[in-house]
């Protein structure tokens, strides 16, 4: 069975600076995968390569069997990939409501009379992240870091993606907020069958969430496997779990 997302022999570079070398990666349909590694290993670049954002790539990237590595970002997103980027990427001067509306920008279901399905989805987002309803008309830039992260995830989910890419969602957030967010990720994976590829520096949290881990070191995948196996690896524990 072909995986939902496949990377094969992917090289990536910013101009003359090469970052990824021969990266191979798979995300099963309905699966949750973590991409771990130190700073500068190329984790963010991998997510960017999938969405063709400001990076030149070689090699194959397939989504649902179709090659997407030659498409523009907008076209890739149209095929069902949601990306919550580094730094959240919310539209700071627009309201929370407008941010969510933009998340649903691509949804033009002819069967959806009066945008009811979009409204239902918005309600569902409020269910996951109640604070967004409270802040509905506030400017997104005035939200706290954790709230913006929730908004960024909600916005990506509004498009009902098949695959959700998250770049360091825990960055700069209080542990309890991070736990809430990860719990929600588990819920959407179970309820909506949204596949997840998450990049994290916080290895412990990621290991508890996913069913497969890839470890990236200076642009190469050095090891991969189920989280228990990776966590048991003594070298990994020394380098990434501080043991």
């Amino acid at each position: 069975m072909t995986a939902l997302l496949e990377l094969r022999g992917v090289d990536a570079a910013y101009g003359a600076v090469s970052v990824l070398r021969g990266v191979a990666l798979e995300v099963e349909d309905g699966g949750m995968v973590a991409l771990l590694g130190a700073n500068g290993a190329g984790k963010t670049t991998t997510l960017r390569a999938i969405c063709q954002m400001a990076v030149k790539t070689r090699g194959e990237i397939r989504f649902a069997g179709e090659r997407i590595d030659r498409l523009a970002t907008e076209a890739i997103v149209r095929r069902g990939i949601g990306h919550v980027p580094e730094g959240r990427g919310t539209f700071a001067s627009l309201s929370v409501e407008d941010n969510l509306r933009l998340g649903a920008y691509l949804r033009r279901d002819p069967a959806d009379r009066g945008g009811r399905r979009v409204a239902d989805d918005t309600e569902r987002m409020f269910g996951y992240f109640p604070v967004l309803r409270d802040r509905l008309h506030q400017q997104a830039g005035t939200l706290s870091g954790g709230e913006q992260q929730m908004l960024a995830i909600a916005r990506a989910l509004m498009a009902r993606p098949r695959l959700l890419l998250l770049d360091e969602p825990s960055f700069g957030l209080a542990p309890i907020i991070v736990q809430d967010i990860f719990a929600i990720l588990r819920v959407i994976n179970r309820e909506q069958r949204t596949s997840i590829l998450i990049v994290e520096q916080n290895a412990r949290l990621a290991l508890a969430l996913v069913d497969r881990v890839y470890l990236l070191e200076t642009g190469r995948v050095v090891t991969s496997g189920p989280p228990q196996q990776i966590a048991a690896d003594a070298a990994v524990r020394r380098a990434y779990l501080g043991q």
Binding site: T73, E74, V77, G82, P85, G89, L94, R101, L102, Y105
Partner: protein
């Protein structure tokens, strides 16, 4: 007192033109961070097109609508065909490109349409009921048309899906792509709308200043000053800036320095304001995270 009111109201009428041009400049600036110095020349060319249509027998408002449509298309084409080539160029390079366009269109108009003055009709009957000692019917019409156009633009940006997408694309092109917005076409749309605003300004101004290739060179300067006064990144500030500049120009000309120096005085005041408030009256001071 009556004279003062007359000057103020008449200034408001001139200000309507500056308001349109200022908004056009701000629109393109918000989307592309470029100032389209050639906006005035594009507007002048559009006005010539309207003039030719009218001279060919097309009724005024039909010519108006047709000119608006043509300007829109022209703006989109220029952005897609030419400006797109320079989207990653430095600020100075872009400025020179705009200067090139300015010179090009100015000369083109003179060549195609001839340098002699043409009169341009006003659609507003000079004896209409809404004229008064303070404002001629055309001046009332100018303000009216400008307010209608500005309102349509605001409603579009505030309440439509496309308007929201354009605002998003202007603010954060990267994130916009991530929600599926075709940012390039949003820029082209912005150019189209800006051209429409310019064309309206030109057609409203022409009956007063007469149509000739250099018709808009003073206007673009006032429009630019008005946009900066209002805050170059604030679409609400631009029309307010425009009306203020119109009134300022008239007051300066009538009461302070006469018409030769009113431009100098108006600019002096504006620059003075900018030195005190470097981001304009309503502009956002840009905080750059180091």
């Amino acid at each position: 007192m009556q004279a003062l009111l007359h000057q103020l109201l008449s200034g408001l009428a001139n200000g309507a033109i500056y308001a349109s041009v200022a908004l056009a400049l701000v629109m393109i600036f918000k989307a592309t961070h470029q100032v389209n110095f050639a906006q005035g020349e594009l507007a002048m060319c559009a006005t010539y097109v309207a003039s030719s249509l009218i001279q060919a027998g097309v009724p005024y408002w039909a010519a108006f609508a047709l000119t608006v449509a043509i300007s829109f298309v022209a703006g989109v084409v220029i952005e897609r065909a030419v400006m797109r080539q320079f989207q990653h160029a430095s600020v100075l390079t872009q400025v020179i490109v705009f200067i090139g366009f300015l010179i090009l269109f100015n000369s083109l108009a003179g060549w195609i349409f001839g340098p002699t003055l043409r009169s341009f009709p006003s659609p507003f009957d000079p004896h209409a009921w809404y004229g008064s000692t303070y404002l001629s019917p055309h001046e009332v019409g100018m303000i009216g048309v400008t307010l209608i156009v500005l309102s349509i633009v605001f409603v579009f940006f505030r309440y439509t899906r496309l308007g929201l997408a354009m605002r998003a694309a202007a603010e954060n092109p990267q994130s916009s792509r991530l929600v599926g917005i075709r940012v390039g076409w949003m820029l082209a749309l912005g150019w189209g709308l800006a051209s429409v605003l310019g064309a309206v300004a030109g057609m409203m101004a022409a009956p007063i200043v007469s149509l000739e290739p250099n018709m808009m060179s003073g206007v673009i300067l006032y429009g630019f000053a008005a946009a900066l006064l209002g805050g170059i990144d604030n679409p609400w500030g631009a029309p307010i800036g425009g009306f203020l500049v119109g009134m300022l120009e008239n007051l300066a000309g009538a009461y302070l320095v006469g018409s030769t120096l009113k431009l100098a005085l108006a600019l002096f005041v504006i620059v003075g304001v900018l030195v005190l408030r470097p981001s304009g009256l309503f502009g956002r001071t840009v905080v750059v995270r180091v």
